[in-house]
Symmetry: C2
Subunit: 125 residues, 2 copies
C-alpha cells in the first residue's frame, strides 16, 4: 500500500467534475440522456430516427419520453398520426422550454465546478 518506490512521484492536480439531473416524484425526470433524446427528436421529427442516432433501442426511447410526458401537465413530445406523409413527432414548446432551462442550469453548474478549482487544487499541495 505504501510502496513508495513504485508510486509515481508526480503531483495530481485534479479537476472537479460532476453531473446534474432533475428528479421528479417518480425518479429521474430530466437528465443528459433525456435532453439528448429530445434534441434528436426535434432534429429528426421521429422517435425511431432519434433513437437510432443515439444507438438506443426504440423501446427505451419511447419509455423515456413517456416517462417525461406522464410527469408534466402538457407533454414534451407529441405524435400526430396520419396525413398524406404519415404521422410526425415533434417537441412541444414546453419541451423546448425544458431543454433551454436544463442547459441554462448546466452552464451555471460548469461555472460552479470551475469556481472550486482553487479548493480542489489545495489537495495537490
Amino acid at each position: 500500500m505504501d510502496n513508495r518506490s513504485s508510486r509515481k512521484q508526480k503531483k495530481v492536480c485534479p479537476s472537479l467534475r460532476g453531473h446534474i439531473w432533475i428528479e421528479g416524484s417518480e425518479g429521474t425526470f430530466l437528465g443528459y440522456g433525456r435532453i439528448a433524446l429530445l434534441e434528436r427528436i426535434r432534429e429528426y421529427g421521429s422517435i425511431t430516427k432519434a433513437a437510432k442516432s443515439l444507438e438506443m433501442p426504440y423501446r427505451k426511447a419511447w419509455l423515456l419520453i413517456d416517462s417525461m410526458n406522464q410527469q408534466v401537465p402538457k407533454p414534451y413530445v407529441v405524435t400526430s398520426a396520419g396525413g398524406r406523409r404519415g404521422g410526425g413527432t415533434r417537441v412541444t414548446p414546453e419541451g423546448e422550454k425544458a431543454i433551454k432551462v436544463f442547459w441554462k442550469i448546466h452552464a451555471k453548474f460548469q461555472k460552479f465546478l470551475m469556481s472550486q478549482a482553487g479548493v480542489v487544487s489545495s489537495i495537490c499541495k
Copy 2:
C-alpha cells in the same frame, strides 16, 4: 404518447440533484465511494473491516485505496506491519485533508443545487 386521459394531471415540481467527483489523470480520484471508504478506514483502522462495513469486496477496497495512493505524492492510507498487536491501517493527515476538502466542496454544491430551485420550478409552470 399523447394519451391525455391516462396522464396524471398533477404538476411535477421537481428538484435538482447531482453528484460530483474529483478526476485525476487516471480517472476518478475522489468520489463519494472513496470518501466513505477513507472514513471507514479511519473508524476501523482496518481495510478488511472498512470494506466489510460497506459490503465491498476487500480486493475492490484495496484497489480504490491503491488508486488514490498512486496518484498523490504522499499516501492517504498507510499500513504499518508488525508490532505486538499486528499491523494497523490509518488515514494520513493528507487523507484527512482530502476528506475535509471534499465535504467542503460537497456542501457548496448542495447550496448551488438549492439556489437553482426557482429556475427548475419554472418547468412546472
